[in-house]
């Protein structure tokens, strides 16, 4: 019997793994890793338009597959409407529009900035790209700021 898959694999295992993936995407595909671009390509595919970078769609499919693998290793799926502290704080009828609006900010912002946590963060900073340093500093600062704002406004519930 294999030892149980850990609830949370530590950062010093997952971090270097992701760093290696960033390197391999460059070294093998000559591309900057980035997930928000995969959404764009997948959208083009679904709409039947020409897909400039089909590999990004395969990368996206892989992400879903890899994440699913961890779920299976932990004992399988339990589909539910849990969403951590946010799900306990808001009724379901409000969580869904909140997440949709938050998601829209993510999509709007990453399309505008041409990168997200992976593209500008995990891959952009090791590429020593000035735009990625600026982007990562901005999204980290804004996210921490907004999170603290939410924390105060909700009286510490979130």
């Amino acid at each position: 019997m294999l030892p149980a898959f850990p609830d949370r694999v530590p950062w010093y295992v997952v971090g270097p793994l992701m760093g290696i993936v960033v390197v391999l995407v460059y070294a093998l595909l000559n591309k900057r890793l980035g997930v928000s671009g995969s959404y764009t390509q997948a959208r083009m595919f679904v709409l039947g338009r020409s897909v400039a970078e089909p590999w990004r769609i395969w990368f996206l499919v892989g992400i879903v597959g890899g994440a699913t693998l961890t779920t299976v290793l932990r004992g399988g799926f339990v589909v539910g409407t849990d969403y951590g502290a946010l799900g306990r704080f808001l009724p379901l009828g409000l969580v869904v529009p909140t997440l949709f609006i938050g998601g829209a900010l993510i999509g709007f912002g990453t399309r505008w900035a041409e990168g997200c946590t992976s593209g500008h963060g995990l891959a952009g900073i090791p590429s020593r790209s000035p735009a990625s340093f600026a982007s990562a500093a901005t999204f980290f600062a804004t996210a921490v700021g907004v999170t603290f704002f939410v924390h105060v406004v909700t009286g510490g519930a979130l």
């Binding site: 591309k31 764009t40 990368f59 499919v61 994440a67 998601g103 709007f108 912002g109 590429s127 939410v150």
Partner: protein, 142 residues
């Protein structure tokens, strides 16, 4: 190339799930600066990738496709700052980014779906605005 991309995606998605980055509470605690785990994870990923990429670039590494490996670099423009500020807001609200949102339904978190739908809607909105009023030259990257 596509098969390689899929395999690399599997490794990336495995990491997201293994570290539970697809869990609102994990990201929320990180952004509340309650625990350093995710910061350390991202920093160690960069600490591994940065010197290796630098060496590959210096050594003029040729990718299997034949081309010389080129690191994607661009200068800071307004779009990077404004766009990333908007993204940071969404990240804080949802506790998700484009990658971790994909890993949510994969863990049975059905509420990852409205986040993903929102990301797609936000991208479309941004593109329709950009078409009307080009703020910056449109380039496909990310």
């Amino acid at each position: 190339m596509n098969r390689v991309a899929a395999l690399l995606g599997v490794a990336f998605g495995f990491g997201l799930g293994a570290a539970r980055l697809n869990d609102y509470d994990v990201i929320h605690d990180m952004l509340l600066l309650r625990e350093p785990e995710v910061f350390l994870l991202m920093a160690s990923a960069m600490a591994v990738a940065l010197p290796v990429l630098w060496l590959l670039e210096r050594g003029a590494w040729h990718t299997p496709g034949g081309g010389l490996m080129r690191l994607s670099r661009s200068n800071i423009e307004r779009k990077h700052i404004f766009g990333s500020a908007v993204f940071g807001g969404g990240w804080a609200i949802t506790g998700a980014c484009p990658g971790t949102a994909l890993a949510m339904p994969a863990a049975g978190v059905a509420l990852g779906l409205p986040v993903i739908a929102g990301v797609l809607a936000g991208q479309i909105l941004r593109e329709s605005i950009a078409k009307v009023r080009p703020i910056a030259p449109r380039r496909r990257r990310a």
